[in-house]
Each structure stands twice: as C-alpha cells, then as structure tokens.
C-alpha cells in the first residue's frame, strides 16, 4: 500500500470538482502552499460534464425583466417545493458571477451583436436566462476550467485512479482509498480535507444520457461509510433521449422552438401544459411522452423494439440549426443518419440526473445522520444534495449548481485549512487493511462462485428500466426491491475472469456494481415508501402531491446491509407550496 499526503483530495473532475480545485488554488496563490490531489477514475478532461449541452441559467439582464426572485421562484416551483429555499436563494445570487468569471477564462458564450452574452429559453423558466455556447455548453465550460486548472502548479493529477472508499472515524474525515488502475496498486490518499464530486448514477438504467462512468461511486462510498443519502428516489428523466440508446438531445432544441409530435401528428403538449407547451419542466414533459406512448399514440421502432414520439425541428430552418444546434445535427447524422433539417428525430425519456445525493448543508459540508457535519468532508455538484433541485431539477440548473457549489466548497475548504490548521489524520490501519482485503482478497482473489459481473449489471439495468421508471406503482416497486435484494445476494458470489493488475476493468466494474446495487436499493425502497407524486417521482397509485404528509426530505442510511429511512423537514423561507401548473 502506498500512502499519499495532501492537504485536500478532490474525487471527481467534472465541473464541480475542477471548479473546487481552482477556487482553492487561486485563493491560496502559494500563501499556505495548500497541496491538492485531483483524482478521477477516467482522464481529467473526460468527465461527463462535457456532455451537458443546452445552457447554464443565471440572472444577467435584470434591466430586461429578469430578477433573482424570478429565478428562485422558477427553481422552487420546478422542484415541486421540495427545494430548500434558503439554499436556492444563495445559489441564484452566485450564478451570475460564475458565468462572467468562466467567460474570462475562455468560455465562448454565444453573443449578441453588441458583444454581450446571449441567453435563451429553457423549460420551466419565466425569462430566457439559459446562457449557452452553441449546444456544447458543458463541454466548453469543462475546457475552460480544465485549461485554467493547468495554469496552477500546486496540485497533482491522478488520472485513472478509482476511489473505493472514504475513511471516516469518529466524525473525522481521514482520506480516500483508491486503486491506481494503471498498476493495480492500492493507494491511501491521506488528506486533511476531502471533496466528493463524482456526479450521478445514470448507469443504473439501460436507457440513459449519462456516460459509462456515471455509476454513482460517490453515493456508494458515502453510503458505505455510514453517511446518509438524501432524496434518492427522485431520478430525472430527460424527455428527449435519442432512440435507441438515449443519447441526449438538448432541451435547447425545444428552447429554440422544436415541437413534440405523436403518431397522429399532433402537438400533444397542449393537453399537459397548455401555456408552456414543449417548454414545461422536464418531469412534466417526460410524463406526457410516456402517457402518449402508454395510450397508444407512440410510434414503434422496429430496430430497437421501443416506442417513441417525434422531436420536430424542421421549421427552424437550416441556418438557425447550424448556428444554435450544430451538435444535435451531428448526433442525428452520425448515429441515425437523420438530418434534423429534413426529418424529425425519434425520442423518448432517458435517465439524466439524480436530484438526490449525499446529504450536505448549505455550504456543501457532508452531514452525518445526527445532522452535524463530518469534520473535513464536503460534496459538490450532482453527487451532493443540498437541496437546490428538490423533486425536479430545471434544465440549465445543473451546470450552474456545479460551478456555484465548486466555488462555495472550494472557499469553505480553504477557510477550514487556513483557520483551523488541521493536521494529517493518523493512519486508520484497520479500515485500510479491511478495504484492501475486500478488493484484492474477496473480489479479485475469489476462486469460487460463478456469478458474472456483466450479467448482474444487465439484470439490474433491466429491473430499474422496467419497474422504477417515469411512472411507478407500489406493486412494481415491490418487485424491484425483491429483485435488487436477489441481485445483492448473488453479487456475493461474483467471480472475475480478469486477474490482471493493469487496467483491470473487470475489477473496476465489479466494484462499481457493488455501489450500483446499494443505490438502486435506496432508490426503489425510497420510492416505494413515498406514497405521493411529486416532481420526478410519479406514482400511478398515488397521483397527487401530499404536502401534509410528504413535504419532507428522505434520508437513507445503511444499517445491516439494508437501507433504513427517516425524514427531515424542508426549509421553506419564502414561498408556501401552491399547485404547480404550467
């Protein structure tokens, strides 16, 4: 085992992780010589934030009618009133500076003729405040942050290091354990402060817009360390995933005016959101599409065996498409041979985002079950649940969450190191050797058993796709829980084919699957318990929102291998819940 000492260890290098690293380094400027480890299981520039397409919301033009109140209201109404309103209030105020700062670091925002930043419409907004750079917004943001990080010296990159656990003892963060995928060596990142920014868990599903790397490792390591996960049953389905794989077709397509059309050629959104139409929030549009399909107005695709509806952009014209949606055109051409200038795209909802995540406070500090923070541990971005997005995140509120919380957490971590001058924790020997034994002894070294990682993973994906989808019912969720428990039992018997130490993806996938099974269990069980419909959690057997009983956050804890659930109140400081009509 190799021990590596750092002041701060950041796991995950999407927008949130990179922004956190930059904030710490630029605040320090060599004053304390804070040394940062930036750790990713893939290469630093490859994180899934690169696939964010449509936009990043921020209030830039108050003189034209936008305001912080309006953005906060949109976010809270979009969240179906499950967002913590004090956190939203802080978030909307910080988004503006982030847009302008990363502009100066190189993001090529689309511009107005006078050189100022342009914005566009997105679902659920009352003002066109989605700031965008073509339809590759997240990609350009990642480039600017990655390039800017390269400017600093006092950090080390750990590409392709897979973090397997977070070590916490007596409420104190003590570091991360990891496998260096290149050598297979076991590593202990001993750090005074840690940040988890590992993104979401879209890979629980078969049809997802999320990368193969989005396996929810951050949720897994936190949950295994006895930390609570919050609101995990709220899984966002993006309405427009390209059939068959579920590749993301940005909401900006509808922001620019695209139509959703059913089998009969009808713009069906008029029945579901008569005033916002295609630009209703994602949960509503996804339900509308599934309803059309369930009621027989979908189109059958022979190749994939899937039903879908059409996303029609023909009326936008070639010029506008080339200027505003070039990547969507590229995706259509490359993957289906369809040119959106002449033909509509076949789309259906695709898993896109986890509203839930690691339970944190308003500063991104990770909280324990008793509500007090772990000393020295933070979480940011999709991995964290503050909660800003409540039961449904608005489109264009994901990337700004990463940027704002990267900033907040970076700041907070730096203040912690500067003011409290924490020492390196002493080596938690028992925990480290137990973890080493779990990975190399009980998983990699296992000689008996015959369960196959990929077989189990596929069964899990099918289970989630079938039973824990856009619409849920009690009986289906029960089936999901039973199946997941069975898979967890079988997981104990997995046996790896690959025994190599160098780039053993078989081992990595086995460890990821362990996390995925736990997360799936929390999602399905939490969804079963929540007997109401709110935001992205839609129960056919409980079709209404129930504020009397369920205006509260779900907290899931690991106890004896099974999740146990409790609930905490939502912080409502500005607006009382009202009916959510668009």
């Amino acid at each position: 085992m190799e021990t590596l000492d750092y002041d701060v260890a950041i796991v995950g290098t999407g927008l949130a992780g990179l922004r956190t690293a930059i904030e710490i380094l630029r605040k320090d400027k060599g004053r304390l010589g804070v040394k940062v480890a930036v750790i990713s299981k893939i290469y630093l520039m490859r994180s899934h934030s690169v696939s964010a397409e449509g936009g990043t919301s921020a209030v830039l033009y108050p003189e034209e009618g936008d305001s912080f109140e309006l953005m906060a209201w949109d976010t809270i109404k979009g969240s179906d009133f499950l967002a913590d309103q004090d956190a939203v209030w802080r978030f909307v105020h910080l988004a503006t500076q982030e847009i302008r700062l990363i502009e100066r670091w190189g993001v090529p925002w689309n511009r107005r003729e006078d050189g100022r930043i342009e914005q566009r419409w997105f679902g659920g907004l009352s003002f066109p405040r989605a700031t965008y750079a073509q339809d590759k917004t997240g990609f350009f943001e990642m480039r600017a942050l990655y390039d800017t990080l390269l400017k600093y010296d006092n950090w080390d990159r750990f590409d392709e290091n897979f973090v397997t656990s977070v070590v916490i003892e007596n409420g104190q963060f003590k570091g991360f354990t990891a496998i260096d995928l290149r050598t297979g060596n076991f590593r202990y990142f001993r750090a005074k402060a840690g940040v988890i920014a590992t993104g979401g868990a879209g890979q629980l599903y078969r049809i997802t817009s999320m990368a193969a790397s989005s396996t929810g490792d951050g949720y897994g390591i936190a949950y295994n360390a006895g930390l609570p996960l919050k609101d995990m049953e709220f899984v966002q389905f993006h309405p427009t995933g390209l059939v068959p794989r579920g590749l993301l077709i940005t909401e900006a397509a509808r922001g620019e005016g695209a139509y959703l059309i059913n089998k009969d050629g009808e713009r069906f959104m008029k029945r579901y959101a008569p005033s916002k139409m295609e630009l209703a929030p994602r949960d509503i549009v996804s339900r509308a599409i599934m309803k059309e399909i369930m009621e027989g107005r979908g189109i059958y695709d022979e190749h994939s065996g899937l039903y879908h509806v059409w996303l029609d952009m023909r009326h936008l014209g070639k010029e506008r498409i080339e200027e505003k949606l070039p990547f969507i055109r590229e995706i259509g051409l490359k993957y289906l041979g369809i040119d959106i200038v002449d033909q509509p795209l076949p789309i259906r909802p695709t898993v896109h985002y986890n509203m839930g995540g690691i339970h944190t406070d308003i500063d991104g500090k990770v909280l324990m079950a008793n509500g007090t923070p772990v000393r020295g541990l933070w979480a940011a971005g999709e991995a964290a649940c503050v909660s800003i997005h409540g039961a449904n995140r608005l489109g264009s509120n994901g990337t700004n969450d990463c940027l704002v919380y990267g900033y907040i957490v970076g700041n907070d971590v730096y203040n912690y190191i500067e003011r409290e001058r924490p020492q390196y924790p002493d080596q938690p020997r028992t925990a480290l050797s137990a973890e080493e034994d779990r990975i190399f002894g009980r998983i990699l070294g296992r000689e008996s058993g015959g369960e196959d990682v990929y077989q189990l993973r596929n069964e899990l994906k099918d289970t989630m796709e079938r039973y824990v989808h856009v619409y849920r019912t009690g009986s289906e969720l029960e089936k999901a829980v039973v199946k997941i428990k069975e898979l967890k039992e079988r997981y104990k018997n997995i046996r790896l084919t690959d025994r190599s130490r160098t780039f053993n993806y078989n081992l990595q996938h086995a460890l990821e699957l362990g996390f995925m099974l736990d997360i799936a269990h929390v999602i399905a069980q939490g969804a079963l318990l929540r007997t109401e419909s709110r935001g992205a959690h839609a129960r056919l057997d409980y079709p209404n929102r129930d504020d009397e009983h369920w205006l509260k956050h779900t907290i899931a804890l690991r106890s004896d291998g099974e999740p146990s659930f409790s609930y905490i109140p939502v912080r409502i400081t500005m607006w009382k819940p009202v009916a959510r009509v668009y």
């Binding site: 893939i42 290469y43 520039m45 490859r46 994180s47 899934h48 690169v50 696939s51 500076q97 847009i99 302008r100 700062l101 502009e103 100066r104 670091w105 190189g106 090529p108 925002w109 689309n110 511009r111 003729e113 006078d114 050189g115 100022r116 930043i117 590759k136 990609f139 350009f140 480039r143 390039d147 390269l150 400017k151 590409d159 990368a211 193969a212 794989r245 590749l247 993301l248 190749h303 080339e322 070039p326 055109r329 590229e330 995706i331 051409l333 490359k334 993957y335 289906l336 041979g337 990682v453 990929y454 596929n458 790896l496 690959d498 190599s500 160098t502 780039f503 053993n504 993806y505 078989n506």
Partner: protein, 269 residues
C-alpha cells in the same frame, strides 16, 4: 462480422479474432462493449460518454485513427474489422495507450487565458465584449476534445518524439486567436522552435482524422503566419511593444463552424 483486435498484456502481443453480429448503425464501441460483456472480460479499452464528447475511445479502425463511439459499421464498407491501439503512443494494455506525454505537451503551450493584468481573470464585474463574428475566429479550434487521435495520424509525430504535435499547437492557436487573450509572447518560445510549428510539414493527416472538425493543420499554418509577422515587425520597429503588434482582428478568411460531412481537401487521403 469478423473482428480482429490487437492485444497486449504487458509482455506479449497478438491478434485475437471475435465473431459478432452488427447492423449498419452499430458503432465500433457497441462491438467492443459486446465483446467485453459477452465474449471476453479481459479486453481492455477506454470509453465513457458514448457520444463523441469526452475523447476517451480513440482507437485505430481498419488503419484509420478514429473515435470508436462515433464510427458506425455501415460507413466502413467492409465485413471484417481490424481494431488497434492508437499509433505513436506507448501501449499499456490492449487498446489502452499512455497519454502522459500528450497531456504534458498540451500544457506546455500555456493553454489558458493570459491577460497583461492578471487581476482581470480573478474578478469579473462584467464580461469581456466579443462579437459573434469574433467568436468565429477561434471557436472551431475550441472544439478539441483531447482524444489524441490526430497525433496517431501525424507522420511527424511518428519520427520526432519531441514535436509538440497538432493537438497542442491547435490549442495554442485557439488562445492566440481569441480576442480576449494577450499571451502570444509568453507562448512564442515553445511554438517558434524546431520542434514547434516549423517541424510540421503539412501532411494534413491531423485534420483528416479529427473527429470534431478542429482542423489543426490550418491552425498550425495560421501560427506560422503570426510568428513570421511578429518577427518581422519586431525587427522593423523595436520601440513598439510587441503585444500591440499582434493582430487581433479575425483573419480575412475567418473559419466558419465546420461542415458536418467534413472532408479534407488536399493533402493525404
């Protein structure tokens, strides 16, 4: 369909054959995933976003460096498939290559925004004004996903390991062409070097294989022009501070966003 994959386990190299079913819209990545999940768990390759944004899955497909996730079986017009690790890199295992040198070269050209007053990058009370037309001078070069495919095609990289390479040079130009950047002089030593822009002899292979239409070959030619102009002007009027000389207006034939059926005109085929 018959698939031959170049394998390497750290000691020995070999070709391994697999038999898979493929439709015209099946991607090479689908095939690799199928093989790893169903036929051979030991096959090592990188992939992540599956939609041509993250740059993980560069491999050589039937002799041409490309992204596995964006290459469809139908476009190859062949019923046998040959997959190799990217050329010009050290292979670690199977299709996984060592990118350390690649990322270091990228960093060596200072690929970040440089202002004469660095404080302007610390706080942003307002945005820098950039017109839509000015955006077009550099945005094409900002499409780079750092997949490293261009280096695998470059004949110069193959013979000169010190050559900075098309990716890093294109990224140097991306910032130099950006009207907000003022860092030309800080980058010139690395660029104006026998292993810098002058090592490129314009085979154009980088632009031919680039999956995102970045056109590094074009960026390198622009860089040569900028460097010569800089040298010339420095010679003529020594009194003038060089930063003011650097032309920031878009070049007369400012690049437009790339067409989708991107075809390289001239050079190698």
């Amino acid at each position: 369909m018959k698939v031959r994959i170049r394998r390497f386990d750290g000691q020995k190299e070999w070709w391994q054959d697999y038999e898979v079913e493929a439709k015209p819209f099946t991607t090479i990545l689908d095939i690799l995933n199928y093989i790893r999940e169903n036929l051979d768990h030991t096959l090592a390759y990188r992939h992540s976003c599956q939609m041509g944004s993250c740059g993980s899955c560069g491999v050589v497909i039937n002799g041409k460096p490309a992204l596995a996730c964006q290459t469809r079986v139908g476009e190859l017009k062949t019923d046998t498939l040959r997959i190799e690790p990217l050329y010009n890199y050290r292979v670690i295992r199977d299709l996984v290559v060592d990118l350390t040198d690649f990322v270091n070269k990228h960093r060596s050209v200072k690929p970040w925004m440089i202002r004469k007053n660095p404080q302007e990058l610390e706080e942003a009370p307002s945005e820098f004004k950039v017109t839509p037309q000015q955006n077009l001078t550099f945005i094409q070069f900002d499409y780079c996903i750092m997949c490293g495919v261009c280096l695998a095609a470059c004949p110069t990289v193959a013979i000169d390991p010190l050559f900075i390479g098309p990716q890093a040079l294109a990224q140097a130009y991306r910032y130099i062409a950006d009207p907000r950047d003022e860092g030309f002089e800080e980058r010139i030593d690395v660029l104006d070097d026998s292993h810098g822009v002058w090592r490129c002899h314009f085979a154009g292979a980088c632009s031919y294989v680039c999956p995102k239409g970045v056109d590094p070959a074009k960026a390198i030619q622009y860089l040569k022009k900028e460097i010569l102009k800089f040298r010339l002007l420095r010679k003529r009027k020594k009194a003038v501070p060089p930063a003011e000389i650097v032309q920031k207006e878009p070049p007369p034939n400012a690049p437009k966003p790339p067409p989708f059926d991107f075809k390289f005109e001239g050079g190698v085929e």
